[in-house]
């Protein structure tokens, strides 16, 4: 008997969430390192707020957004590692022998990313508020931050899943992690784009979608409701999620060969 799609997704989602939360080595660093970077930056770069045209009163307000994107990068690692492990261990073959729908498998696998993303978003918001950050867009803005953060996690998580399904290798997933961090550092992470004086850096940051994800979240913290920044943030995160999901779905078709 073939189970319904909802049951398949729910069953695999539960497994993905349980599996993710039972790996402290995956959850703790994804919370600790973004918060560590937040503490270092907020404490050490406060002087940057004195630059003419700097958009925030405190560097904490400005840099809080980085946590959410950095958390998304950890999501990529988490999703990719879990999927690669399923390929390497043969668990994917076990699933292939059930009447499982491929879409259900992919969606279910990414549920762990969403669970981790929810924990991250909640933690970063609470810690940010306790540390003195103010969210200009208010409570509703906090929810939008969480939503955008989850979409970013889903997008990066899908990239991790794509690499894992394409290569079937946990090492390959680990290999893209530094590249994704490079994308974060080459964005408007530390300064607004218009205050970046080095031409090539400003150009790279302008073409880097990570900048717009950061600016979407940042706008809710330091400005309030900026529809253009939010639209760009959601479009970039959503675009990456869609493209990566299509790629992951295609890779799954190749990896999950069954007649």
């Amino acid at each position: 008997m073939t189970p319904g799609l909802a049951l398949q997704v729910g069953t695999l989602a539960r497994r993905s969430v349980v599996r993710t939360l039972r790996q402290p080595a995956m959850v703790v660093p994804s919370l600790f390192f973004p918060l560590l970077l937040l503490a270092v930056n907020a404490g050490g770069l406060q002087e940057a707020t004195k630059l003419p045209g700097f958009p925030a009163d405190t560097y904490l307000d400005f840099v809080l957004a980085v946590c959410f994107v950095q958390g998304g990068l950890f999501a990529a690692n988490s999703a990719g590692t879990n999927v690669a492990s399923d390929v390497e261990s043969g668990f994917l073959n076990r699933l292939s022998l059930t009447p499982l729908n491929r879409t259900a498998l992919l969606v279910g696998q990414l549920a762990g990313v969403v669970a981790l993303g929810t924990i991250q978003a909640t933690t970063f918001l609470v810690v940010g508020l306790i540390a003195g950050a103010g969210i200009h867009a208010g409570l509703a803005g906090a929810f939008v931050i969480a939503a955008l953060s989850l979409l970013i996690s889903l997008g990066f998580g899908s990239i991790g899943a794509f690499v894992a399904l394409r290569t079937g290798s946990g090492e390959a997933v680990q290999g893209i992690f530094p590249l994704m961090f490079a994308a974060l550092f080459l964005s408007s992470m530390a300064l607004p784009r218009d205050l970046i004086e080095t031409d090539w850096f400003r150009t790279v940051a302008t073409y880097n979608p990570v900048s717009y994800m950061l600016e979407g979240i940042r706008s809710l913290v330091i400005v309030g409701w900026d529809s253009e920044a939010l639209a760009m943030g959601f479009a970039c995160a959503g675009g990456i999620a869609v493209v990566a999901l299509i790629g992951a779905s295609s890779a799954l078709r190749t990896q999950m060969v069954r007649t």
Binding site: P3, L92, L97, G168, Q255, V257
Partner: protein, 338 residues
């Protein structure tokens, strides 16, 4: 394509000239024909890299054949994959388990994905966990299980939907003797009590000899011999005698004496062995001849024909140890484009 047989004549597994080629590699499976009757335990015996796992992957729909055809439970593995999967259970070469889930959580996952009614899932899970002796460990994470426990859970998971045909790919590789015996007992019970057809790959002679009703010996992608264990050994026919002299200097002279009784076969480096042309009755003559030549013997043993002798006779190589080494590793089937 194979012709659709009459219902009464449906084989559990039937292949015709089944071939699988890998890119940049040899033919992993090179035209095999198998017919396994319902309720039969079929042992697929061969060294590493012989093509056993590739065959299982094709029969379980995880790998499309390059050419030829195969029907499992009466369904074509290429055209009717869904029906094949509904009829089979499989425990593949690695115990494919999630180390972060418990045994019971694995059963929940598998029973749900196979579409068992909600009320039936816990009952079925508990029943199978009890059958494989994992009730006490059911709520422990699988990462802490021993190799034998993982294999038993793997077997239980393959049985959740009550398959008519069970594929076991080297189920006891790497297990200690006690775990191996427990798994053998369960396989025998499945075949005799439940009437499940079992397709079992193994590189262990003892396993094939003990469990299988019939054996197919595969080497380099081809079936080199097929029959019941007894009939295969009967093909080889005669026993061999192996003798180790007390003094190594006597080895040459001892070989000359032994050569009177049959053709030389492989033996330990310290001794010599011959296949007795006159059968077991010649053993006494061998002892008398050695005594007459004043050759003192440290060790003398009569060997009944084994499946390894069958393999040796068919391929010129011994089965045990013949597959060692990375060069003979079977290509990884998963994810390889047809």
């Amino acid at each position: 394509m194979l012709a659709s047989p009459a219902m009464s004549d449906i084989a559990a597994i039937e292949t015709a000239d089944l071939v699988r080629e890998f890119k940049k590699g040899p033919r992993a499976v090179d035209g095999i024909d198998i017919r396994v009757a319902p309720g039969e335990v079929y042992g697929f015996l061969g060294p590493n890299g012989a093509g056993k796992s590739t065959t299982v992957h094709m029969l379980t729909t995880l790998l499309p054949p390059t050419s030829g055809s195969a029907r499992v439970a009466g369904h074509d593995v290429v055209e009717e994959g869904t029906q094949v999967r509904a009829a089979i259970g499989a425990a593949l070469q690695e115990a494919a388990l999630d180390p972060f889930l418990t045994g019971r959580e694995h059963m929940k996952l598998q029973t749900a994905l196979h579409g068992l009614p909600r009320a039936e899932r816990p009952r079925r899970g508990d029943e199978l966990l009890a059958r494989v002796g994992l009730v006490e460990a059911a709520d422990r994470k699988v990462g802490g299980y021993s190799g034998g426990m993982k294999r038993r859970l793997d077997l239980a998971l393959a049985l959740v939907h009550g398959p008519r045909i069970l594929f076991l790919d080297e189920p006891t590789t790497g297990l200690d003797p006690q775990s191996r015996s427990a798994l053998w007992a369960e396989v025998q019970r499945l075949a005799t009590d439940d009437g499940v057809t079992v397709f079992l790959t193994t590189q262990y002679l003892e396993e094939a000899d003990l469990l299988a009703d019939r054996i197919g010996i595969i080497d380099q992608g081809r079936i080199v011999a097929e029959g019941t264990p007894d009939s295969l050994k009967a093909e080889i026919g005669r026993s061999s005698v192996e003798v180790v002299p007390s003094a190594h200097e006597e080895l040459g002279r001892m070989k000359q004496v032994l050569s009177r009784f049959g053709e030389a076969v492989s033996s330990s480096p310290k001794g010599a062995a011959v296949r007795l042309s006159g059968g077991d009755a010649q053993l006494a003559d061998v002892v008398r001849a050695l005594d007459a030549e004043d050759i003192r013997v440290e060790h003398l043993q009569l060997h009944a024909p084994t499946l390894d002798d069958v393999f040796l006779a068919k391929t010129g190589r011994h089965l045990e140890g013949s597959g060692d080494g990375a060069a003979e590793e079977e290509p990884e089937p998963a994810g390889v484009a047809a």
